[in-house]
């Protein structure tokens, strides 16, 4: 195709003119406007002197490597040196790479006359090597004239189609010709393996749907899914949605108390579980008058008690099921989230959320037809449904599920065996991987990985830098919550990454940080305020089940009697996430801390994230949790709980070393007054550090709802 090199910015039109009539023209026109060019790789036909020859050399583009896979824009690459036989290209913000000598023989690259920035513009012809333009292309471009119909375009949606998540994630994919494509690759404890096509998923979920209906479950009823990450969990989720029920997935590790609270609150009608977990259900059954059906989907049918039903997923395959005619506002999924005080809250989502989940999966996770995707989250948690079921399957993408305990070796093996290309994980896991170091990584072939994202907690800069070193690409941090249903502020392929930053608002999302007192959007860069969003995005939760007041309290400026619908559609309100952040002059958001986690020491506000990030940069420290502890003089002072990397002893000398080290990046006011070493930090099942637990211990207070604590 066409290759251009050494083209200066002003010559873009000339370049485009030369492209006229060539196969690349349409692609380029679609991708960018003058001044913005996305990258791609080429097997070029000679077009212009040395530029063409250069471009034809594959190794030179191996050198662009990570940058290309992320669709780096032209001005992010600088040719810093050209010698015959080798070209060094510096990717601003990404790793420096060097072309292989033997592959780039005798070609010279001229540096552009201005600013020594040479544009390597290569238009895609051959996609074999896996270097492609990202789905999003240019983030800035996407912001212009955005509307949520983009999502419909991506799914190739026609007016009048049935908007039901279960249907869209199985039947629809089959109808579009992908029935035989692998939907789910599963590995479990003890080496169990299974694989399912989209057709399998379709007929098996039909079976669940039909069975539930036969059992008397009706549209709008809550159906709890209480099992390990087995295939039945993923498939029954779709089945529940297909019959119009509300899926309520819960972590299988919950004890009976936690289970009871959530089932009572939701007045759950039916529960699908396994022989392994049914005992917990039995314990609380008589306290749950609404729970009429207990359905066991795995285990020994002979061990069931009276009233319990056994359902064999395989045996229940069903070609036909008349899917419930849900609409955009039909309730779909109910996720429970813990607050600092009081009972867990049920965030109610609707079928309309699929647009948010599909588009973010397409643009942020960059999922494509041929990707093998792995989301490590359990569907008991919103990430595991939004991006562990709905996002990928709405796009018809193959995904893998690993149901086994965490070890870095097991995880890397999984990636290697399945040639996983896109990986969506969490900071707590990444930090554990960091602890096991590069030596472990090097034992495996992880070359299939092309894109990494992270969710759950803000991702410390150190982890971003480490993953770039060790995997060749950084983890992209994505910020969102149970309540938001889909990603809200995130990083993007092609957008420069600032390690430690949340990224920028997703197109269609209006985000701001509000002044802590006045609740007006802050205009000064760097000033810390409350993260807030204009309500009304498709994946936004519609209410907290039976807690209207609490729902209303999340909206700044809401009238005391406003209904959820009014709140959601009032463009003048702000939804506050309960976190604090600042925005830098380039528009990047920087997380400071949960509202409740921010420490007020002697009148100065200190965000735990900053202090924790500084601590873990020290080689001795693996993880850190920073909270306030009581102090006579200052009311609160900063205290850090840390876990150590192997081989370190926390004596006075190490402590002083750590303090001096962090002093370089922290202001004196943020310095911890005490550092306490722990074996491990208290975390939720979803891997988030439970700071409030540590804080409560320090203050001798009630610890509140501990049901999500890992060691329950």
């Amino acid at each position: 195709m066409i290759v251009g090199m050494g083209i200066d910015l002003v010559d873009i039109d000339g370049f485009r003119a030369r492209l006229a009539g060539s196969p690349g023209e349409a692609l380029i026109a679609e991708l960018f406007l003058p001044g913005e060019i996305a990258y791609a790789k080429t097997q070029a036909r000679p077009w212009e002197t040395y530029a063409a020859r250069f471009a034809a050399k594959e190794a030179a583009f191996k050198a662009l490597g990570a940058g290309l896979a992320q669709g780096l824009r032209w001005h992010e690459v600088e040719v810093v040196r050209a010698e015959s036989g080798a070209v060094a290209l510096e990717l601003r913000g990404a790793a420096r790479a060097r072309a292989d000598e033997k592959n780039v023989g005798g070609c010279r690259v001229s540096l552009s006359h201005s600013r020594a920035v040479a544009l390597a513009v290569v238009v895609m012809q051959n996609e074999q090597e896996g270097f492609r333009v990202s789905n999003i292309g240019s983030y800035e471009q996407r912001l212009k004239d955005f509307d949520w119909n983009e999502a419909r375009k991506v799914l190739d949606w026609r007016e009048g189609e049935l908007q039901n998540i279960g249907h869209m994630c199985s039947d629809r994919i089959c109808a579009r010709g992908h029935a035989g494509k692998t939907a789910l690759i599963w590995e479990g404890f003890g080496g169990g393996e299974a694989a399912y096509t989209f057709d399998d998923v379709r007929v098996l979920s039909n079976g669940f749907a039909g069975m539930l209906r036969d059992q008397g479950v009706e549209p709008g009823d809550r159906v709890c899914l209480f099992m390990d990450k087995i295939p039945a969990l993923y498939i029954s989720f779709l089945g529940v949605l297909k019959m119009g029920g509300i899926a309520q997935p819960l972590f299988s590790a919950f004890g009976d108390d936690s289970l009871e609270v959530r089932l009572a609150s939701a007045e759950t009608r039916a529960i699908l579980t396994t022989g392994k977990h049914v005992k917990k259900v039995r314990k609380i059954l008589d306290k749950l008058p609404a729970l009429e059906r207990v359905i066991v989907v795995e285990g020994n049918p002979d061990k069931l008690k009276d009233g319990e039903v056994f359902y064999d997923m395989e045996a229940g395959r069903s070609e036909d099921f008349a899917c419930f005619r849900s609409g955009p506002e039909t309730p779909s999924v109910l996720h429970y989230t813990s607050g600092t005080t009081g009972q867990p809250k049920g965030a109610q989502h609707v079928h309309d959320s699929i647009w948010g989940q599909a588009l973010t999966a397409h643009w942020v996770l960059d999922l494509r037809d041929d990707d093998i995707y792995w989301c490590t989250a359990d569907p008991g948690w919103v990430t595991g449904t939004s991006y562990g079921i709905i996002g990928p399957w709405a796009l018809g993408v193959t995904q893998c599920v690993l149901d086994s305990g965490f070890t870095s070796a097991r995880w890397y093996q999984f990636i290697q065996d399945n040639r996983i290309t896109v990986w969506y994980s969490a900071p707590t896991a990444i930090r554990s991987l960091m602890r096991d170091g590069k030596e472990t990584v090097d034992k495996y072939d992880l070359s299939s990985l092309r894109h990494l994202c992270s969710v759950g907690e803000p991702l410390n800069a150190e982890a971003v830098v480490w993953s770039e070193e060790v995997f060749g690409k950084p983890f992209l941090d994505t910020f969102w919550q149970t309540e938001t249903g889909a990603m809200m502020i995130t990083n993007y392929p092609g957008l420069k990454i600032k390690p430690g930053s949340m990224g920028k608002p997703f197109p269609g999302i209006t985000a701001a940080v509000l002044d802590l007192e006045t609740h007006e959007p802050l205009t000064e860069p760097g000033k810390v305020g409350l993260i807030a969003f204009r309500p009304g995005w498709p994946a936004m939760f519609r209410e907290y089940r039976n807690q209207h007041d609490v729902y209303r309290s999340k909206f700044v400026g809401a009238a005391p009697d406003a209904t959820p619908d009014q709140l959601r559609t009032d463009g003048g309100l702000w939804y506050v996430s309960g976190d604090r952040a600042s925005i830098d002059p380039d528009g990047y958001f920087w997380f400071v801390g949960r509202d409740d986690d921010v420490i007020n020491t002697g009148g100065h506000l200190v965000g735990p994230f900053e202090v924790e990030s500084a601590l873990i940069e020290h080689e001795a420290i693996a993880e850190a949790a920073v909270v306030g502890k009581p102090d006579e003089v200052n009311m609160e002072v900063v205290k850090a709980f840390v876990t150590l990397n192997p081989g370190f002893d926390f004596d006075d000398m190490l402590e002083l070393d750590v303090m001096n080290f962090i002093r370089k990046s922290l202001s004196p006011l943020a310095m911890p007054q005490e550092i306490e070493v722990m074996e491990k930090l208290p975390k939720t099942r979803s891997g988030k550090i439970l700071r409030r637990y540590l804080r409560a211990l320090e203050w001798g207070e009630e610890v509140g709802d501990l049901s999500t604590l890992e060691d329950d």
Partner: protein, 415 residues
């Protein structure tokens, strides 16, 4: 505007280069009175830490002595807060005269003149007393404030090898043709802790018709049988022509210095010395405190005796532990480490062990002669010294330098 971004960047770059060379001075904050045990905030923002102080000039332990504090309080009450005047206009109180007289009695001199500090005394004395026809012959390792003062004055100057009497004699001979010769030296040298052989210096001064000036800042109050200084120690009390010393070290530690000696020379200072003429008078509370200090040290040798015992004890134990020390029988004990990074690292580890000391390296001491300078105090008890020695032993072992001589350490760590 003068301080543009460009200028700011320029100066910031210089600070950056100081950091890169490893010469950056960190901030440490003492959050308690100065004493053998202090509370330190280091690094800035960290929780306060109680450590034992082995790097203060608080030789006699008077820096926070209750009697001295009480006397200063009384001085505030009786004579107010500040003079708001240079001495010669309306800044001299009766207590200034009293302090000067008492100091002359203590040092055994004809006259004394107070200055805001010994730094100022050193800056002013040469210019006030000497002319272009005179020559100053100074020991090469005299204190920086003396160097500055010598450079400020119009007289010529020359130097002799550190404490080398033969070389001094050579210079005295060389400069026979000058109007006067003034030999300048420290009494106790602050980096090495050694004493100038003042008796030999005075003998040479006699022989070559020269005057002698001694900066006794690290000696006043405790060197010599009754603590009067180096000249007492060497039995040449009436042979030294000028003494400059400070009230900011052993003698209380607050502020203030003086020139003391032959009446005419001191009077010339009072008439001509620029720091005297242009700097604010010493505050009444400090003058009152200093008078009390002199009373305490004149009345009894208890403190300087204890300091001497502490010094001896420390030197014995630290040498027994296998560390190299320099200097002579003074409370300044340099623990020789030669390598700058080693000195820095060890000082930092000592701090973690609860002993506050600082590493000294170029340019404060010659390159390749880095050290940790330990300073003993009468405020130290035996257990404090034991702790310090134990810490040195532990850290010395950590770095594997116990029992090594200079060659051994240099082999291991380089210079």
């Amino acid at each position: 505007m003068a301080y543009s971004d460009r200028m700011r960047g320029m100066f910031a770059a210089e600070i950056e280069s100081i950091k890169e060379k490893g010469l950056y001075k960190e901030k440490r904050f003492i959050c308690s009175p100065q004493d053998a045990e202090i509370e330190v905030e280091y690094p800035e923002g960290a929780a306060h830490r109680k450590v034992l102080n082995f790097c203060a000039n608080n030789y006699l332990g008077l820096s926070s002595h209750p009697d001295v504090i009480a006397a200063a309080h009384a001085g505030l009450d009786a004579r107010g807060y500040g003079m708001s005047s240079v001495r010669f206009i309306c800044g001299t109180q009766d207590i200034h005269r009293e302090l000067q007289d008492r100091m002359s009695a203590f040092l055994g001199t004809e006259s004394t003149l107070l200055f805001p500090s010994c730094m100022d005394a050193n800056a002013g004395v040469f210019e006030a007393v000497l002319e272009a026809e005179d020559v100053i012959i100074a020991d090469r390792l005299i204190h920086a404030s003396l160097v500055d003062g010598i450079r400020l004055c119009s007289a010529q100057y020359d130097t002799f090898k550190h404490m080398n009497m033969a070389h001094l004699e050579k210079k005295l001979e060389l400069h026979r043709d000058k109007r006067t010769r003034l030999i300048v030296t420290d009494g106790v040298f602050s980096m090495d802790g050694d004493l100038i052989p003042l008796d030999e210096v005075c003998a040479l001064a006699d022989a070559y018709d020269a005057m002698v000036l001694v900066d006794d800042s690290h000696a006043s109050g405790f060197i010599g049988k009754t603590g009067r200084g180096t000249h007492e120690h060497f039995g040449v009390m009436d042979k030294v022509d000028l003494i400059t010393t400070t009230f900011g070290k052993g003698l209380g530690g607050a502020s203030g210095g003086c020139v003391s000696g032959r009446a005419e020379l001191v009077e010339l200072c009072r008439q001509k010395a620029r720091p005297y003429l242009f700097s604010n008078s010493l505050a009444p509370s400090i003058v009152a405190g200093s008078i009390k200090v002199l009373e305490l040290v004149s009345g009894s040798t208890e403190r300087r005796d204890k300091l001497e015992r502490n010094t001896r004890y420390f030197r014995e134990r630290i040498t027994a532990a296998g560390l190299q020390v320099g200097g002579q029988d003074t409370p300044i004990v340099p623990v020789m480490l030669y390598n700058a990074k080693l000195a820095n690292d060890m000082a930092r580890d000592m701090y973690a062990e609860g002993i506050y000391v600082i590493g000294f390296f170029f340019p404060v001491v010659p390159s390749g002669a880095a050290r940790i300078r330990v300073q003993l105090s009468a405020a130290h008890e035996t257990e404090h010294i034991d702790k310090a020695v134990a810490a040195f032993r532990k850290i010395g072992e950590k770095y594997g330098i116990l029992g090594l001589d200079k060659k051994g350490i240099v082999e291991k760590y380089g210079l």
